[in-house]
């Protein structure tokens, strides 16, 4: 299971282990952690929620997209749900490829794509309130009701 939604803290090494391969010269990982300050505002904690079965499918889809686009790439992604404190890990993305440039690019692609199509939401809790975070600028709309291919290339 290279693509998971986790209710418990993520073990980064176990995600990395899934992409080890003899053909790989490079493994990149992205670890998304809960930051204390966003635009000067102090976060107390976050709560992540997911539409779990669909989220897993969409993570798998991202993996397939990467393996198609970057030959020889191997991908594993685990995203946490539930309550997370500052510095806790929300997501770990591991990508291995034969050559390093691909590994950085494919990893970056994965996180951007997660923020696009994977049904996971975070609720920020501050001292003076709480809010579900969406597309913060509220500039995005889906006239057909679903994300389009060009949403990726903003």
């Amino acid at each position: 299971m290279n693509f998971e939604i986790a209710k418990e803290p993520i073990n980064t090494q176990s995600v990395i282990d899934k992409v080890v391969q003899r053909e790989a010269g490079a493994i990149t990982t992205f670890i998304g952690t809960v930051r204390e300050l966003t635009k000067g505002k102090k976060t107390l904690y976050l709560v992540y929620d997911a539409y779990e079965p669909m989220a897993v499918k969409k993570l798998e889809q991202i993996g397939s997209e990467i393996e198609t686009r970057w030959t020889g790439a191997k991908v594993a992604i685990t995203h946490r749900v539930g309550k997370l404190d500052i510095t806790d890990i929300a997501v770990v993305i591991a990508v291995s490829t034969p050559h390093r440039a691909d590994s950085y690019e494919a990893n970056r692609y994965a996180i951007e794509r997660i923020k696009e199509i994977v049904p996971i939401w975070k609720k920020e809790h501050w001292e003076d309130g709480e809010e579900w975070i969406g597309n913060q600028l509220e500039t995005k709309s889906y006239p057909t009701g679903k994300p389009e291919e060009e949403d990726l290339n903003e």
Binding site: A50, A90, P119, W121, G134, N135, K140, G145, K146
Partner: protein, 77 residues
């Protein structure tokens, strides 16, 4: 019968994780409009819909038993 799932702020507004409705033969867009009216949901043009865990266009027809989910702008990562 069709299960309709709500997430994030939609769930807070609706006050329930899911409801059950009769939507067979309707389009995604029609169901969306009905939910919007019934629960006074805002900014539905930024909300995607999934049918059976796959994104669906507003013109897609719902079959009996399909699971419908309203997906507000996501914020994982």
């Amino acid at each position: 019968m069709n299960k309709v799932l709500f997430f994030a702020h939609l769930r807070d507004t609706v006050g329930q994780e899911s409801i059950t409705i009769e939507a067979a033969g309707k389009t995604v867009g029609q169901v969306k409009a009905e939910m919007s009216e019934k629960y006074n949901l805002q900014k539905l043009d930024t909300v995607m819909t999934a049918v059976n865990e796959e994104f669906a266009s507003n013109d897609e027809l719902i079959n009996d038993g399909d699971e419908i989910a309203f997906i507000p702008p996501v914020s994982g990562g």
